[in-house]
């Protein structure tokens, strides 16, 4: 299979602290890959590195066959990687629709395409259409997370990186969230998902990696990981 994203020996140091050590990770086209890890394990750092916000100390990142190491974040978005940051970072004063349109910034000159993406996003999240003129800050936690994902989809990414989309949401909403992520993947977008909720994430993922203290300690397909004793102890609690 062709790899869409490939990290080779990616290392990041903040001063003397090694936040990521020799990360080797691959995501194939069409896959849904989960990155499991506790708070502070390095999930967000890894995502920020891929999207160009953190500068690598050493290593190489390839996307679609080209190196994107050291590229500016906005260039990386244009090549097709979009990150949906943790913590539902929205423009709270802008309306729902304006937030979505900001997500389509890289396609701002293709009006027809933007309109279509907007309709697709509304099909995926009907509640957003209902609230399209409301201020983003007035939405509930789950709706804000949906808006954040919808905004990322507006850029029509080849690869979408979701950083803990289930954080702080009610169990029922979490379930919905994961089924939406699955349908995004089935619609043809490759997904890299950072999660602590291993139980739910492994149910929808093809493969997974486990990160601890900036090191990838385990990898495998989701069944293997699901049956792994250490993972059951650490992340599933059974």
């Amino acid at each position: 299979m062709n790899h869409l994203l490939k990290l080779s020996d990616v290392t990041i140091k903040f001063g003397g602290f090694e936040a990521l050590k020799n990360i080797n990770l691959e995501v194939h086209e069409g896959e849904l890959v989960v990155l499991l890890g506790a708070n502070g394990a390095g999930k967000s750092t890894l995502f920020k590195t891929i999207s160009g916000l953190n500068k690598m100390t050493s290593g190489d990142i390839q996307f679609n066959g080209n190196s994107i190491s050291g590229a500016a974040p906005d260039r990386i978005v244009k090549t097709g990687i979009v990150q949906c940051a943790e913590g539902k970072k929205l423009f709270s004063e802008m309306s729902v629709q304006e937030n979505l349109m900001m997500g389509g910034f890289v396609h701002r000159r293709k009006k027809a395409q933007l309109k279509q993406s907007l309709e697709e996003t509304y099909d995926l999240f009907p509640i957003l259409k209902e609230k399209k003129d409301d201020a983003a800050g007035s939405l509930s936690g789950g709706q804000q997370q949906m808006l954040a994902i919808g905004r990322a989809l507006m850029a029509k990414p080849k690869l979408i990186m979701l950083d803990e989309p289930s954080i702080g949401l009610a169990p029922l909403i979490v379930e919905q969230m994961f089924s939406v992520i699955q349908s995004i993947n089935r619609n043809g977008t490759t997904v890299l998902l950072a999660e602590q909720n291993a139980n739910a994430a492994l149910k929808i993922a093809n493969r997974g990696y486990v990160i601890e203290n900036g090191i990838l300690v385990l990898q495998g397909n989701s069944k293997e990981l699901f049956n792994n004793d250490e993972i059951r102890k650490a992340y599933i609690g059974a």
Binding site: G52, D74, V77, K89, F91, E98, M102, F105, V106, A155
Partner: protein
């Protein structure tokens, strides 16, 4: 009643007031002069608002660019003998050129460092004007800057004519600001102000957008400076000074930073307060200082922000009171079911 008091009618009312203002004070040249001067400051502050209010980058070199505009017009008209209109156009272009060069370097820094860097850059502009006697007249300044040349039958000798001229440029500045704020460009600036990192992950090139915003911002300052030179007709290096930039900032913050009406309200309030407090010039900061401190603490978006949140409060209270009827009836339903 709310239909009469809507935003559009309010704007029309203010516009008519500003057009009729000179007629009411046609024999009081001083009042007209102060108002014209205030409008010039407002133009400069609109520029400051685009960068500091909407893009979130506080530049303290703004008075420096105001002075570059003023001195460009001053030097070009008195020393090179150019027509005022050509000099004004060149002044704006020169300001934008210097702003572009300075912005490239300044925008490598962020937040506090950007503010400090631009403060120093502004001071350097002041020093340059102060020391470059051959060109700027140094501490003595430039004297005898001509009034704008007549356009056909329209002459600018009277204070009323100057008032309308400056008002025209002010309306133009407001128009440009409104167009920017309500466009994708404006939302892009807003995104950068919210979080540069988030803006970048949406594919926004923050470097270029900040630079363009910086150049637009200083072009307002250049225009205002050029108009200032021909209104006051004498300019000294103090217009580039730090007192000037903090005065601009105070007007902007009190009026409402990042709001459309803020620059007008803040400037007019302070300019007229200053007129009434003239008897104790030296101590005016005793009054302005506390006002500024209180506003920054309680209403970070100034008077306009305070009015907006007050109106928002009344609106939700109205909604909630109509809602509470429903919830009351619902709860009685529940009770009746329980019974």
């Amino acid at each position: 009643m709310s239909k009469v008091l809507n935003k559009r009618n309010g704007i029309i009312a203010v516009l008519i007031l500003s057009l009729l203002f000179p007629l009411a004070f046609s024999d009081n040249k001083y009042v007209l002069y102060i108002m014209t001067l205030a409008f010039i400051y407002i133009i400069a502050i609109y520029g400051m608002n685009i960068l500091a209010g909407y893009t979130g980058q506080l530049s303290l070199a703004h008075a420096g660019f105001f002075a570059i505009g003023a001195y460009s017009v001053g030097v070009l008209t008195t020393k090179a003998g150019l027509n005022f209109w050509l000099a004004l156009l060149l002044a704006v272009l020169i300001t934008m050129g210097i702003g572009f060069a300075l912005g490239i370097i300044a925008l490598r820094t962020k937040e506090h460092f950007f503010a400090i860097y631009t403060l120093i850059a502004g001071y350097l502009i002041y020093l340059l004007i102060y020391k470059w006697e051959g060109l700027t007249g140094g501490v003595r300044g430039l004297i005898g800057i001509p009034i704008p040349n007549a356009i056909g039958p329209i002459k600018f000798e009277s204070p009323i004519a100057m008032y309308y001229l400056v008002l025209l440029f002010l309306l133009l500045s407001i128009f440009v600001t409104v167009r920017i704020v309500y466009s994708l460009t404006g939302r892009t600036y807003n995104a950068i102000r919210n979080s540069e990192e988030l803006a970048q992950t949406l594919g926004i090139n923050t470097k270029i957008n900040k630079l363009v915003s910086f150049v637009i911002s200083v072009s307002f300052a250049g225009l205002a400076g050029g108009l200032y030179a021909s209104l006051v007709r004498f300019i000294g290096p103090e217009i580039a000074g730090t007192t000037m930039v903090f005065t601009f900032l105070m007007y902007l913050i009190v009026g409402g930073i990042g709001t459309l009406a803020g620059p007008i309200i803040g400037t007019l309030l302070f300019i007229w307060l200053e007129q009434y407090l003239q008897s104790f010039q030296e101590h005016k900061m005793l009054i302005f200082g506390p006002i500024l401190t209180l506003i920054v603490i309680f209403y970070p978006r100034g008077i306009v922000g305070a009015i907006q949140s007050l109106m928002g409060y009344f609106r939700t209270r109205k909604k909630e009171s109509s809602k509470s009827y429903k919830t009351n009836s619902e709860s009685t339903d529940m009770k009746s079911r329980e019974v």
